[in-house]
Symmetry: none
Subunit: 226 residues, 2 copies
Amino acid sequence: MTRVLVVEDEPGLRRALAINLRARQYEVAVAADGASALAAASRQPPDVVVLDLGLPDMDGTEVIAGLRGWSRAPIIVLSARAGEPDKVVALDAGADDYVTKPFGMDELLARLRAALRRSATAQDAPVVATEAFTVDLAAKTVKDRSGEPVRLTPTEWHLLEVLVRNQGKLVAHRQLLNEVWGPRYETENHYLRVYVAQLRRKLEADPSRPRHLITEPGIGYRFVVA
Amino acid sequence: MTRVLVVEDEPGLRRALAINLRARQYEVAVAADGASALAAASRQPPDVVVLDLGLPDMDGTEVIAGLRGWSRAPIIVLSARAGEPDKVVALDAGADDYVTKPFGMDELLARLRAALRRSATAQDAPVVATEAFTVDLAAKTVKDRSGEPVRLTPTEWHLLEVLVRNQGKLVAHRQLLNEVWGPRYETENHYLRVYVAQLRRKLEADPSRPRHLITEPGIGYRFVVA
DNA sequence: CCGCATCTTGACGCGTCCTTGATGCCGAGC
DNA sequence: GCTCGGCATCAAGGACGCGTCAAGATGCGG
């Protein structure tokens, strides 16, 4: 069954969305603020997210960034703000669609179907194997050479996932920090050093001579398979 | 380069769309009616389609169906009709997004970027190859003739990137310094000599006789592939 | 309320990179 | 032939970034 995460602080609308979606045989999880949305999403990864931008606790783009760090599930943004700049910011942050309140339930459902149709066809092989370890992006698991699972903390996994998804490409400090920690942490390069070091210690055969998690001095990091 | 097919019968809007898209480095094909749109799409498969529903010769959903028969390129629908049923019909027919006229150009461009981001398969590799080395702008990698990666420092890479982006064109000292070091360094021509020399030493077959990183005395530098 | 895992923050040594100066070369102009 | 300005090359210093270790904070589950 398709799992929808509804993030909406207004109780009435939240209920209405949940009822309508459940009536169409979707499995619905709800959250009233950004923090619980991210928690719920990590606990039960949704297939699509309906996200109200006007949340009490976090900026909407931070929620988008938090989700995009590890999930490609379509994000449909709801907002009372019809201004163009708001739409551009949300879409460029990683949202897939932007619906202005008030909206019709039929339209939202149609946009939801369109988003799901796309993501159904866009599934690529989410397993990447190196000589030292294997990453399964779908199952969110990492195994070492002998097949033993490797324990990663949530942040370690976020970071690894972003790097693996851009395999071969150089990912800038700024982009990594933005996708894993959010836009407000774009200058905290020290976080990267600490967590890259931890990943290397857990994954690389010789952590002091990394072969897959490569430093590009002054620019960022790169994951290479060979 | 990303190819956009614009299907719009109104000449003014068609021109405006084409101009704006070309200004953003998209490759634009235009069509004024459904039949020529389908013909153009089959001749030159687009990466994304911007489709006005109010065409003179065919119903919009027919055009969508005609495209969806063989192409998965995202379709962004433009329409003057804001009614919900129209949106639902178009989206369920296979459209990816529905924008109501009048719309802002920035919003359309943002929705276009969002659509393209999803169809990750449509990414051309912006790779520039010379006989001595190969530059991959997306992955930020440089390889020499034997395929070995070349290590560049951040400043070296930044400088090379600007030159390669303007391949064939002459880039003035002032512009290079401005883009790499910032506006306050526009007179530090010495920096350029040092770093161009380093790039030549790392990339050119015969650094003292450069064939790709060319000095234009008194003006600037130029990158040429052949 | 406590304990543990995780995240954040700090300090330090080391290596690399940026900046800057010195020197030689070449061509243009006098 | 000489001088001068722009360019190429080399070298050295100091600054900065990176890796590493470890000690507080923080938050979560029991």
